[in-house]
Amino acid sequence: MRLAFILSEIGSGLRRNLTMVISVILVTFISLTFVGAAGMLQLQINQMKGYWYDKVQVAIFLCNEGSAAAGCASGPVTDEQQKNLEALLRSPAVAQYINEFQFESKEDAYGHFKEQFSNSPIVDSVAPDQLPASFRINMKDPEKYQIISETFASQPGVESVIDQRKILEQLFSVMNGASVVAVVIAAVMIVCAILLIATTIRLSAFSRRRETGIMRLVGASKTVIQLPFILEGVIAALIGAALASGTLWAVSYFFLGDLSKQFQDTPFISPGQTLVLVPALFALGVILAGISSLLTLRRYLRV
């Protein structure tokens, strides 16, 4: 009975304040979309970093079948060349600059590749043999990349020495900048959303002051009096969160889907991955509505 009563109160509250409720929905929708966009950018950065980015700075790619580099004239790397390279990495002259290094076999490389490009059609056209084996090096001081490069580039069996960070860092700084902009816009919109929800609840409390006054007098509990107001805000925020989630999914499905066909060598996040943001958006929406109703009800709906 009490639940049915609270639900009917919520229904009448939403109907009476329809225009305000719609604006709450739209503002939470926009603010949560920006929050989600920032989240998607971070997911995309993680995707592009791949398996090695946070662990190592320098990769020494070994010669493969058909490598065109000068050091690979004698064909793919031999076991002996590989042993020599490993010995050189352990020699004091080089070891002093290195924290640690790992060997990535062709099979390992294929595994990591499949993971990173799981959303790209390119994964089907690559076989383990096409990927080079490599030494992945974690530097004590990443700035000393030059030393490693000079030492190894001319060694037999080495195709190339690459500082992966240099390649991606600029792109990532642009994407991080975009994330910051999105978060700032989201923060402003969230403030708007909180204020708007507070105003809506205030109006709602005012238009229903007769009812709430009588409820107080006949001894209705705080929950019965305040819950409909809180839930009105929460419902509006949840609808906003649902719209934001739908928008993010649509962006990743249509926009990123197109991009991944155009740029096959870049790994993109899948629509499924953006769904991890959905619970966060819903939680944020509920928290927004909760905070603003707590602040408002304390002032305008004393029991």
């Binding site: 009975m1 009490r2 009563f5 007769r210 009812e211 006054g213 009588i214 409820m215 107080r216 007098l217 006949v218 001894g219 209705a220 509990s221 705080k222 019965v224 009096i225 029991v303």
Partner: protein, 275 residues
């Protein structure tokens, strides 16, 4: 101090209660000591600003007494935590001058609202509401909207709503203030009937005809002080009361005013009581 048993006989008990809204102004209630017993019918009379409404607000714990203790059904309301205040209010029905009905709900729904919000089941509501509407004389008008009712009928709905949860106390704040004398007497009949059923009724009023007609206990307030407390009394005392200086803080002097026509110790401004 009264024992718990003794306190329970008194439905409402004020012990040296003072209420100050504004430090600079005089107190709204000034060291009031008063007891209203279970099943009693008491009028609270006095000019506007004499403290009648403050008295009612303190019983409902809408306000907190500045000093002194308010007991309702034996319980000191100061000791009731805020989340238990609704429970206190379920034991008290309230009726106002302006009825305070919900305009978009019909008679039945207005009365049922008071039961819905405290979680009564539909079947209990269906059984109880018609019974209460019969008590207040509104049989067959369940489906009317408030604007289709006369003032007296609207007030009967308000009374039905106030008593539908069977409170031990009914507080009425000038319930006949908007009604003509004949209608007012009808309302008084309803209140009397509710009182006969065992509910303690406290009614604040300006209506001298009603008070004179009913011959119930009369508590007269002026400037926050009880200046008269008579059983079976009239709106104005038959014997002129000597004016009560509000500077008189000696509570024992006020306590002794329980009999008719008692003269206060401060006899300097006589005649002020007659207005």
């Amino acid at each position: 101090m009264p024992t718990r048993c003794g306190a329970i006989r008194a439905m409402i008990r004020f012990e040296n209660v003072t209420k100050v809204y504004d430090q600079k102004a005089r107190p709204a209630l000034d060291s009031i000591t008063l007891e209203i017993d279970r099943g009693e019918f008491a009028f609270l009379v006095g000019a506007s600003g004499s403290g009648k409404s403050t008295f009612l607000r303190l019983v409902l714990k809408e306000d907190r007494a500045t000093s002194g203790a308010v007991y309702v059904a034996g319980q000191n309301v100061a000791n009731i935590s805020s989340w238990r205040v609704p429970r206190l209010r379920r034991g008290i029905g309230v009726v106002f001058q302006d009825f305070r009905l919900l305009p978009q709900k019909n008679v039945f729904a207005n009365v049922a609202f008071a039961m819905q919000v405290i979680g009564k089941s539909r079947s209990v509501i269906r059984a109880t509401v018609p019974e209460v509407l019969k008590t207040v004389g509104l049989e067959g008008k369940e489906r009317r909207m408030p604007h289709e009712l006369s003032g007296g009928e609207q007030q009967r709905v308000a009374i039905a709503r106030a008593v539908v949860n069977r409170p031990g106390i009914l507080l009425a704040d000038e319930p006949t203030g908007n009604l003509d004398p004949t209608t007012s007497m009808g309302i008084m009949g309803v209140l009397d009937k509710i009182n006969q059923n065992g509910t303690t009724v406290v009614m604040a009023t300006h209506d001298d005809d009603i008070v004179n007609e009913m011959r119930k206990r009369v508590v007269e307030l002026r400037n926050g002080v009880v200046i008269r407390d008579e059983a079976k009394a009239l709106y104005t005392s038959m014997i002129p009361i000597v004016g009560q200086s509000r500077r008189l803080k000696d509570a024992s002097g006020i306590d002794d005013l329980a009999g008719p026509g008692r003269v206060s110790p401060d006899g300097t401004s006589s005649g002020e009581a007659m207005q």
